[in-house]
């Protein structure tokens, strides 16, 4: 390779890399400047005495967000008067008034939390203690509680702050929620991180050139050699898998369109009445979940048999064995790519406004691809040694399907389990894709971190297991 040829390539890479970084910066700029904050209300357990003329409830609590925009309250209406309810929010220490509102009792929801928006956002007071004062002419009682979540598990929570009715301390706290947003300067990390990645890439390129000159080996050179030699095989295997899949079916490749549509149709009829009201764009929500889970399920099921099913080849010809699971995942990816077309159609039909965040979709797909490759490597290796993996995996997939919010809203997950849900890699990836397509916003940096962790982490685990065991595959086939 001529020297100036290499420099040209490097320059091209650098330019492309920084253009992509700039594009990324532009896409997430607004979405990474703030992050939504909503606090979790305690669950109803007791109700305060009726709030009549001259009585008042005071609840103190710490302010949860930089830019606090609304408060949600839960009250029962007995025989409400048409006198407005008075709400005041002030700083506890100084008594400085932050917001004052009058809400007609008829504006309260009969059952559940009602959002009361502030006339003006309360900014820059996060962490300070505020006091909410409620006065009404009668007919309503506010709910209180002492724990979060009563669904099987409940966690006692500390009182938000002092709660008094006419100056008398009351047990528990008001069932209330704060909504607002925190300032987030997520974008400031983009350029430094990009620079670090670029420097690392340059380092690898220069090191590889030096090794090549000195005739040394090295991981990158070996990988390049394998890629050069076997890329055509990979392509052939992918095309073969895809062709064999739809062979002898009348509609052929059309099934890649039809399958997600029909599945969505079925799920829609089953779950529409249950969850429709809770989810915006239920159809698109459902379909995106189904498509991603289908991909995961197909890639892992094919990957499971990637080594065992190619036993006749593996015991007769040498080639890098990871090519088999990888080819299975890639041929499923073709399917995924095709099923994105009906998804886009459904999204546009159901009135989802596409935002620039949709440009992040390739990134989401790369995360998915890496994650599924890791799983396929792991499963194909396990399958060689334990043939029961296939039966176990069938059950696991069903469990995984129910544990991932595909057809139900995330909000039905009890708060006590939210943390566990974040440990589900598939949840993170589906959340990411839904956020950029249906939500129209880029997720916050922490979600990117989770997605990278979920995908690259899974790949590393899968690869390590595969690499450690691959020499023994032939002995067990």
């Amino acid at each position: 390779m001529k020297a100036d040829h290499v420099w040209k390539k490097l320059a091209l890479f650098t330019a492309g890399f920084f253009v992509l970084t700039a594009l990324f910066f532009w896409i997430v700029r607004e979405d990474w400047s703030r992050t939504a904050v909503t606090t979790e209300p305690v669950s109803r357990s007791a109700v305060l005495e009726e709030l009549t003329e001259g009585r008042e409830i005071r609840q103190s609590f710490p302010i949860a967000s930089d830019e606090w925009t609304s408060v949600w309250l839960d009250c029962s209406l007995w025989n409400p008067s048409d006198q407005p309810v008075e709400l005041r929010v002030a700083l506890k220490e100084t008594g400085r008034e932050l917001a004052a509102m009058w809400v007609l009792p008829s504006e309260f929801q009969v059952d559940g939390l009602t959002e009361i928006r502030f006339p003006e956002a309360v900014t820059g007071l996060r962490g300070q203690v505020a006091e909410l004062t409620l006065r009404a002419a009668g007919g309503l009682s506010f709910w209180t509680g002492t724990s979060v979540n009563t669904w099987r598990f409940s966690a006692q929570v500390e009182k938000l702050g002092e709660l008094t009715l006419d100056g008398n301390p009351q047990p528990g706290s008001l069932v209330m929620r704060q909504s607002g947003s925190n300032r987030l300067n997520g974008t400031r990390w983009i350029w430094p991180v990009a620079a670090v990645i670029w420097i690392a890439c340059m380092g690898i390129v220069l090191d590889t050139r030096r090794r090549k000159k000195n005739g040394q080996g090295g991981l990158v050179l070996r990988a390049m050699e394998i890629a050069r030699r076997y890329s055509y095989l990979l392509k052939t295997l992918v095309v073969r898998d895809f062709r064999v899949k739809y062979k002898a079916s009348v509609l052929g490749v059309l099934w890649s369109f039809l399958n997600p549509l029909l599945m969505t149709f079925v799920y829609y009829f089953v779950f529409n009445t249950l969850f429709h009201s809770d989810i915006e764009n239920f159809t698109a929500y459902l379909m995106s979940g189904i498509i991603i889970f289908n991909y995961f399920s197909e890639a892992t099921n094919l990957g499971l048999f990637a080594i065992v099913g190619n036993a006749s080849l593996i015991t007769k010809v040498y080639m890098p064995k990871f090519i088999y699971p990888l080819s299975k995942v890639l041929s499923s990816s073709i399917n995924l790519a095709i099923s994105l077309i009906p998804l886009m159609a459904i999204m546009l039909l159901s009135g989802v406004q596409l935002q620039k965040s949709i440009l992040l979709l390739p990134l989401g797909l790369v995360f998915l691809l890496i994650f599924c490759t890791g799983m396929a490597l792991l499963l194909s290796a396990l399958m060689v040694f334990f043939r029961d993996t296939q039966f176990l995996w069938g059950v696991m997939l069903t469990v995984w399907n129910f544990l991932t919010p595909i057809f139900y809203p995330e909000t039905i997950i009890p708060t006590a389990f939210r943390g566990l849900y974040h440990c589900n890699p598939l949840y993170q990836l589906i959340f990411f894709v839904r956020s950029i397509t249906i939500g129209g916003v880029s997720p916050t940096p922490i979600t990117y971190f989770y997605c990278i962790l979920a995908s690259v982490g899974t790949l590393l685990i899968g690869w390590t297991v595969f690499r450690k065991t691959q020499d023994r595959f032939v002995l067990y086939l």
Binding site: R229, Y230, Y232, L233, K235, T236, L237, R240, R243, V244, K247, S312, L313, I314, T315, K316, V317, Y318, M319, F386, R387, D388, T389, L392, D471, V474, L475
Partner: protein, 248 residues
């Protein structure tokens, strides 16, 4: 000159799981009970030899002497328990005819699949395609799925692919003894052609006359050990004598 195949002190042990655990439950139960027993089977024992480019090496030995294991170690399918194997160039292993085929696909697709498995690229295979089809005598059947082929047709195709891509090293395990007389004659001629053009060939055959007539050198494996190696004639003589004496 540096040899094209160097086999140094290769030992291949197979750990045979006597308790035959094939499921997770059995495995863990056996492990907990301490009954996870293994037996060692030594298929190759400290084998050392090398092959120069263009050489035709015959491998002799009785059934179970380790010939096939040795070929699999050289092709990279098995990793030796100890010792090392260094090869330079592409290896086309013909350990079993038709093993790299997908029976659902057409003959045409299989030529490319099989070629790709051997590590050749699309352009190279396109250039050789016509020649391969012609040699295999498949004609219009080339676009039919292989599952509709007779075994002779599969064999012809496999032989055509493995020999016409001109690999640097060709490994032949007992395949010249199959097929009808006409095909045997044709494949024999093709093999001779390859040998004269500098391809290194390793061949296993129980037909001693075939080894004598085609090979220049031979090695003799007995119970996994290298018993003798050298010029083809003395090795074959010693082997035949040993066989006649009872071969134990």
């Amino acid at each position: 000159m540096e040899p094209i195949i160097t086999v140094e002190h290769v030992t291949m042990n197979f750990r045979i799981n006597v308790s035959r655990t094939n499921s997770l439950k059995e495995y863990f139960v056996a492990k907990l009970k301490g009954r996870l027993r293994y037996e060692n089977f030594q298929a190759l024992r400290d084998v050392t030899f090398s092959v120069q480019q263009g050489e035709i090496l015959g491998i002799l030995g009785r059934n179970g002497a380790g010939k096939s294991t040795l070929l699999k170690v050289i092709s990279g399918i098995y990793r030796p328990t100890s010792g090392s194997v260094v090869t330079r160039g592409r290896i086309a292993p013909m350990l079993e005819l038709g093993s790299g085929f997908d029976y659902e696909l057409s003959g045409r697709d299989n030529i490319f699949l099989n070629g790709a498995i051997l590590g050749f690229d699309e352009k190279f295979l396109h250039d050789r395609y016509d020649e391969i089809v012609e040699f295999s005598e498949l004609g219009e059947f080339i676009d039919q799925p292989i599952k509709t082929y007779s075994s002779g047709m599969v064999m012809r195709l496999a032989f055509a692919v493995a020999t016409l891509v001109s690999p640097e090293i060709l490994i032949v395990d007992e395949i010249l003894s199959v097929g009808d007389a006409a095909f045997q004659k044709k494949s024999y001629a093709r093999m001779m052609e390859m040998m004269s053009s500098g391809t290194t060939v390793l061949m296993v055959s129980h037909n001693i006359d075939q080894i004598r007539s085609m090979c220049q050198r031979a090695i003799w494996l007995d119970h996994g050990s290298l018993r003798m190696s050298g010029e083809v004639a003395p090795v074959c003589d010693a082997y035949t004598q040993w066989l006649e004496a009872g071969g134990a």
